[in-house]
Amino acid sequence: MTDQHSKTKTNGAGGPAMREVRDSVVVRFAGDSGDGMQLAGTQFTMENALAGSDLATFPDYPAEIRAPAGTTYGVSSFQIHFGAVDVKTAGDELDVLVALNPAALKVNLRDLRIGGTVVADSGSFTARNLAKAEYEGSPLEDDTLAPYQVIQLDIGQLTRNAVEHLGLSSRDALRSRNMWALGLLLWMFDRDKQATVDWLRAKFKGVESAADAAVATLSAGHAFGETVEMPTKIPGYTVSRAELKPGLYRTVSGSDALAWGLVSGLKSSGISRMVFASYPITPASPLLHLLARMKELGVVTFQAEDEIAAACAAIGASYAGSLGVTSSSGPGIALKTEAIGLAVATELPLVIVNSQRGGPSTGLPTKTEQGDLFQAVYGRNSDAPVAVIAPATPADCFHVAREAVRLATRYMTPVFILTDAYLASAAEPWLIPDLTTLDDYPVEMRRDPDGFQPYTRDGSTLARPWAVPGTPGLEHRIGGIERDSATGNISYDPDNHHEMTRLRAQKIAGIAADIPEQSVELGPEEGPLAVVGWGSTYGSLFKAVERSRAKGMDVSHIHLRHLSPFPRNLGDLLGRFERVLVPELNAGQLLAMLRSTYLIPAEGLNRVAGRPFRISDIEATIVRLLETERTA
């Protein structure tokens, strides 16, 4: 459906007689915040994963904790894109929209493709709910839904029917509407429901009646598809297996992967403790919450009184020989600015995770954006270079976190990880890495007092020694006032300051020699057009380039993990393309950096709407650029 190759064929064993075959499908569950959409979505994801689909998911919550029921701003949704093909994004357009109330329909309908399917709970389209959603009349009765296939079902009533025999109250019964809808969708896509049944049984262990009700509802929804006789025929689809690399898989969100990556990095460094100091803020908090439950893995989490204290505590921890990590999103990172300067000056390891969100200021706290690249690279007083890296996908967060730990400890420097609201909650299947095969990068603390000077640098990395309080004979003083380039004592000497400024810059620039050369994700290493991105736009960019190439366009996709310093071959590589398009969810930040560094007339595609790119927008721009190229 997201691609053009859908056709109808007769299916052999298992499902209903006629199922359309699709390469990939985008489904969104939408309902009120209290309707359990995240849960239905997560289970649907799991069943698809078990059925061998590749997939990508994108949950979307309201900013309010519990907005009044039935309102448009109280709608919660969960989108999943799954299929036989390499699925890289949660999908531009919906093929199927499940809407459990009018507000959910109102808010989500614009994303449904023409001809797509709406599954609507007609029982919820009451006058009151319609009014709350600001519908004049019922969209189920006027021509609002004319361009779509509509399956109206009184899911509330069907759910009540399903659990009638269990003697539940109507209120309790209605809580399971999500399970009924899930059951129906599992049927539609010919998916098993056993994993969900098992999960429900485990979840409600001890409360068998609740488990029974949920399972009964799920089964009822599933059975309905099989047996129904209805004015609207319910379509069935076959989405075949993806060709995933063999191995053991799980789904992983960016937050999970980041947390695990940090822990894995900690192990690889050989440092015994991570002090993760943070202050709650959307969408960064989940990382803090996850790590708060990993105490037995050497993680001490500290909810500080504010972001400044969090950054400072992480610095204090690194000073004392732990791995100091701090995390926030834009406004909180802004507050850490001064402290990060101290880490630059004292050359201590520090990992800073920025889960970017819409801004400026409080902005759009739950929405995604790539607006903090400038802040990470340039946003401090004076010349204060740091390393900056960004994950491309939820699973990539694992490796990026490990890389951050490696760079921070090897180069005695702050390292920014720029993730975002999208990556934090989006999920994808993940081939669980064999931890024993990951490269270790053991850290050597300085122990030997002989010839020790706190600012004498390692010849190759230019890092100063990590000399930790408690070590006899290494007593020394460091601080934020400029330091003598060897002894670390306060120095106001002009030439020393010039030299130290140079050394700080050179140390970070030198990282370029220690990271891979920039590769091309897709397409040739030269040509008329390169699409260059960073961070969470990876999937959209990749898909847009893939589709364009499939249509015969000569375009390549380059995706940067390392934003400071850039990979050493980047200038050469970009120089081999006639045009460079830099799509970003900001006003053109990487764009400015590439232009100033390499003096190439790169062009931006900038969308700042709190959401991932649509693949089609990028495709359209590729077409436009290649055409102007031709006609120019």
Partner: protein, 338 residues
Amino acid sequence: MSHSVLPQLKPKDFASDQEVRWCPGCGDYAILKAIQKTLSELEVPRENSVFISGIGCSSRFPYYMATYGFHTIHGRAPAVATGTKLANPDLDVWVITGDGDGLSIGGNHLVHALRRNIDLNIILFNNEIYGLTKGQVSPTSKRGTLSPTTPRGSVANPISPATMALGVGARFVARSVDINQAHLVEVLKQAHANAGTSFVEIFQNCIVFNDATFADFTDKAVAKENQLLVEDGKPLLFGAERDRGLRLDPATWTLEVVRPGENGVRSEDVLVHDETNRTVATMLAGLEPPEFPMALGVLYRDPAATFDQQVLAQVEPESEGRGLADLLYGGRTWKVGD
């Protein structure tokens, strides 16, 4: 942690090779000496002591100690020290701060360190002025102080560091004076002995920008008369002859100065210092010359479990438990291919 076995260190063994750069006559010199003496008498190994400071004249302190030292940024030393302590609770961590550093920009970190009761010794050099930036008023400056930012006199009420500490739940609050080495060393030892956040306010003379602001109780001529050196379990008597004392007036819930033996006042009427009574400690912290003596010594002490101990206790028990692999493989997984 392996400590070097050292012969007992002298105060000067705690002095670094850096030239001390305070103004001649600054009270900071005396405090430096007192702290070096304290460490030598405590017989702590140099490598285990860490001095963490913010920014200010006072915060230059760590450079002059032959221990580990970290001169951080303005107001943030308690936060940095908290991280240091969570990383390694075995270290002896001293926070050096000033009235501007610790109560103006850094007030909140101080408050939260105190309420958490993390095991730090926080030493606040109170000179009632911003020394390093050349003499502006600080949160402890007296009303009416003339300074570059208050050319017509300051109009804000000063904060009492000790009262504030008590108000946010501090469990060790003490005070001393820069030039009274014996008393200061004793107070610092008590602070060091206390597990949890030990808060010590030292009245320190800034000879350049706020000279003699504490003269009414530190001048040799009046010190004996106007200092009340409190001691747990001892009556709150003061004066060269210890002939005056504090009594509670139960009608007004206030303290009053009395002379035992005069006007029918008996010795038993004089309040006995109870370090664990927060109410009395708060009243003592609020006394000021000329009506009252300045109360010095350990005003309040009531130890409790420290933050670092408790946080790390939540870590340790299961340390031998799950590994990362358990987490990764422990969720809902599935196999692809074979």
